[in-house]
Symmetry: C2
């Protein structure tokens, strides 16, 4: 018998450690983006992404109705497709459920999923239902994209502008308001509702894709469906800071984010301190915006077309780190690392 | 407050009851086969299938090593693809795992998955790893098939021969041997090992597809990739009896299975009673053979090419039931219904 204390447990290496080991079982060219892109036919890639959500870990009746849990689960997966440039084809739902769950709870969960899917013109195509001591929801979403439009984390180049497609920190603020209702003081009721909505009903930014392609096709000297579009990106599900670091790491480049350029959710003014605001905007997570790296001229047009909340927050550099800088000189430069990011385990 | 006793629980309606309600959330033309078939491009369908496996419900360290659990989970999903006529493109794995699981257990699970995938020339393309109080494995497999080769449960026509691609009952026998080792009496050691192997390492019958297409293309008066192939079928994961009833129900036809035509695993002779053998062959489940309904002439060629274990076990009829008949007259006719089939809940 092996000494129990010598056996390495999953808890010892955490989710990220285990994921890294398990990636050794996948083809190396497929790993590393929000989803996997697989060539199925000439001129077509299938993009696939999977999320597993566990009761009490990823959702909870305390902050989330079954409808909202359903919406959020779908939104997270559609956001992964958007982050790869893919148009959704459908999702499958694997549901592990306890025998004492009310049937109405399950139906409300599916209602929330369908609400989100319909908004993005897609459907549940299949699934599985099994008995389990704990509710677990596994969603796999798949979409398609032409090879020249795949957005990858590894595509960033020095000089690229770093674009956010909307506000960050609102989802985290909404969660805090749900957990600590006393925070509503100093907050207008409409703002409170909007922040909670940002947490409960995040919107995957599939709407960004046609705007992006339109700009790039127009800008391209020879508009051709064959010419690869050099767009880097991912979604900000684990936070804005995490997304920039992940993209820079995957691309072997550095980054520079300017504090003053990060768009502040209007409700944050006169409510929380600038320091708290910056923490939520950088590390809050679950805003499901896109973080894209592209040439400055294209970025400027994109930001203008996307409107409120969208911004160029910094630039890709040749440095070997990601740095948060303050052009006003009030705060010293800060190095952003993954350690500060969201850890599930 | 609603009276607790009035609230309908999942346990009250069971897995099948819940599944039926949830199918209302899917497009009706997609539901009802081993997987979902979605048109992605002209001339191409994507087939997707999902299984959720829960520790203690669908696998257990008592009968299944992690390698075997991994193999079986993949085999079940690849079998669903085979049952639709689809060639695998890849799988995703969503793993919910307890912190105290040895890392080696997880790696062995993935080794078993990879062993099975490699045999069928496919790969893990992505996944998710999350913390959970109970181990849950969600696998989504996807493959492609041209529209004229999709095998559907609803394609059966009166007069079709019902073909099994191999022996049934062996997986159930292997499980019984693992749970009750004393049953090995009267059994040759090689037979015992083969039956246990049938349970631990079932083989999805993807190998049947090229043989089937070859016969149908050759038989067709005008071999054309456009002409739809009228093949009905599914896999026998929930038992041979279940498969025939499911196909007949989906096709609105009846069926007639002849006791004497069901191929008996050689190890069953001189080991178990004919009644026990028939029970395991009809209701055992998890053999992952294909049950196909096709014109008699094609069926005869298919059975000959597939070799040992394959057989024409009956015919599709215009009756409104599925009947097990004994041409020797020893047993009375028996009506086969889904109630007797495998119930997960």
């Amino acid at each position: 018998m092996t000494d129990e204390s010598l056996v390495l447990k999953v808890g010892d290496i955490g989710e990220q450690g285990l994921l890294k080991r398990l990636q050794g079982f996948c083809p190396p060219d497929i790993v590393g983006d929000d989803g996997a892109a697989i060539a199925t036919q000439p001129g077509q890639f299938l993009v696939v992404t999977t999320d597993v959500l566990v009761d009490g870990v990823h959702f909870s009746d305390r902050t989330t109705s079954p409808q909202d849990a359903g919406w959020r689960a779908v939104a997270a997966n559609l956001s992964d497709l958007a982050a790869m440039g893919a148009t959704p084809l459908g999702i499958t739902v694997g549901l592990a459920i306890t025998g004492d769950t009310p049937v109405s709870w399950v139906e409300e969960l599916y209602e929330g999923m369908i609400e989100c899917l319909q908004r993005y013109d897609t459907v549940i195509v299949g699934g599985d239902v099994v008995r389990s001591p704990i509710i677990t929801i596994s969603i796999t979403a798949f979409g398609d994209v032409s090879p020249n439009r795949i957005i990858r984390r590894s595509n960033a180049k020095s000089g690229d502008a770093i674009v956010v497609t909307g506000f960050h920190g609102a989802s985290r603020a909404g969660l805090e308001l749900l957990l600590h209702p006393e925070l509503r003081e100093n907050l207008r009721d409409a703002d409170r509702k909007a922040l909670i909505q940002a947490h409960q009903r995040p919107k995957p930014r599939l709407d960004v894709l046609p705007i992006l392609w339109n700009i790039l096709d127009f800008q391209s000297p020879v508009p051709s469906p064959q010419s690869p579009v050099p767009i880097a990106g991912m979604d900000s599900s684990d936070g804005l800071a995490d997304a920039v670091v992940q993209i820079c790491t995957a691309s072997g480049v550095g980054g520079r984010i300017e504090r003053q350029q990060i768009t502040i959710p209007p409700a944050f003014h006169n409510w929380i301190s600038p320091e708290k605001a910056m923490e939520w905007m950088l590390y809050g997570g679950e805003d499901f915006e896109l973080v894209l790296c592209l040439p400055l001229a294209d970025a400027e047009i994109l930001v203008k077309r996307l409107g409120e909340g969208a911004a160029i927050v910094g630039r890709i550099t040749n440095d070997d780190d990601v740095r948060l800088v303050d052009i006003a000189g009030k705060y010293p430069d800060e190095i952003i690392t993954l350690d500060r990011g969201f850890q599930h385990f």
